[in-house]
């Protein structure tokens, strides 16, 4: 059985959307997803997210819900999408992330909690 990882695609939305060529770049990104899908490595396709300026955050302050405009952390770079893969180990996940075609992204690789393991 493999290990599941969520890949979070992090980017500077403003710079990405300002790039007039950004539409074309989806061709290579789609190809990346197709290749992975054909290899049976994708367990949940995930989503691309709207820019963080459309985000709303709910947190609790002294037990009271507090709704604020914007992402949970103010930062130029925000999570722009995510997908879940299942591979043999972290090295395979890293190799897949390295093939991601958009080099102005960062990709955070997070192992998913396995409820069959002890301690959860």
């Amino acid at each position: 059985m493999g290990q599941k990882y969520v890949l979070m695609f992090v980017r500077d939305d403003e710079a990405f959307l300002a790039d007039p060529a950004h539409d074309h770049r989806y061709e290579s990104i789609n190809q990346w997803f197709m290749d992975l899908g054909q290899q049976g490595k994708i367990v949940e396709t995930g989503s691309e997210l709207q820019p963080a300026h459309n985000a709303t955050t709910v947190r609790w302050s002294g037990g009271n819900p507090l709704v604020t405009d914007g992402p949970f952390m103010e930062s130029k770079e925000t999570v722009a999408g995510f997908t879940t893969i299942e591979v043999s180990d972290l090295d395979e996940a890293i190799a897949i992330a390295k093939r991601w075609p958009a080099k102005d992204h960062a990709i955070e690789i997070r192992p998913v909690v396995d409820f069959e393991m002890d301690g959860h």
């Binding site: 290990q3 180990d89 972290l90 090295d91 890293i94 192992p111």
Partner: protein, 425 residues
Amino acid sequence: MSGDTSATLEAISAAFRDEAGAVCASLTRQLGDLDLAEDLVQDAIVIALQRWPRDGVPDRPGAWLLQTARHRGIDRLRREARYRDKLQALSAVNVEQVSREPDERLRLIFTCCHPAIAREAQIALTLRAVMGMTTAEIARAFLVSETTMGQRIVRAKRKIVEAHIPYRMPAREELPERVGEVLAMLYLVYNEGFLSSGPDRATSRDLSADAIWLCELVNALLPDQQEVLALLALMKLHEARRASRFDSRGSVVLLQDQDRAVWDHAAIADANALLERARRLGAPGPYWLQAAIAACHADAATYAETDWAQILALYNALTRVMPSPVVRLNRAIALRHVAGAASALEEVEALSVDLDRYHLLHATRAELLREFGRIDEAREADRRAFELTNNPAEREVLLRRIRDGGATRDGSADAAAPRLAREPP
């Protein structure tokens, strides 16, 4: 047991270094669990530290450590039913075989130095699992508490298990990057030993010697890797000149004032031979170029005979493969000897934003300003350098310069003014 005499701590450390990595690698393979294996070997080392000083180092320290680790493991696992299959594997561990053929330590080293593990944890894990150092010893060497170091190790090992970092050799295409991780770790360990050595610091352990030993091991297990050979040469070149770094009063002796007769010329020749072999293995990488620069210094019979043109050419190549501001700063010093102080000062000024927090930027700038008689600015730059370094030897040199001005009254450069040694490390 070997004889009836007690063993010295040095002999015990050497035995750990020779055996611990192989014991840990064997046990990891047989158990399929680096976390557990590494803990058990560490337990065995702690027990050995109690017994060997009294009883002597056993004839086969590796088998002793593996046997002890195995007993510890069986005790521990009996209390934890969920490890039943591992208990079975432990019972079957063959203590006669601390496997060397093929040497499994390389897999252990690559796993400890996985890029997904923070550099400081890579260092701690490698020193513990491969060199057989205790957590307490590592904590002392890096001036942090044993608790902090212990947590660092626990966190790293937990990540190996929970993020599924594999215990295996990197694939061929990953090798350059992964070897780079190991070398960066080794060079940091070396520098920690090198920079902390000196008359004031009583360390029980010479980390520099450990780093060289480990680099030699990597070279033996993974032969004909240019950058491995080059780093080995680089460390040997620093080591060959180490004895002349301090005078009898414990003050730093700068490169131009060092007694070249006490340099280890046989070691310098060895390093040059390594460099020559490495050169044929491909286009020069960052360690090769740094080692070649160190070799230029080591080969000069006197400071005046230093081949600065060659050094500048090597720095030009180094800035291409490693375009960091620190490399450019070091290049500026070579530039001063080839093209003059004005060009060097111009280059240093261009780096002053990037390296504002780096004391050697300010110290170098001070030296160059002094050559133009700009004494007040030079003193101000030295003050800034002084604020930015904690190294006692460097602080002493800077303080002397701030007090004396480092120049004669008419403002011309004083050849006797102390200068900071500034080639790497």
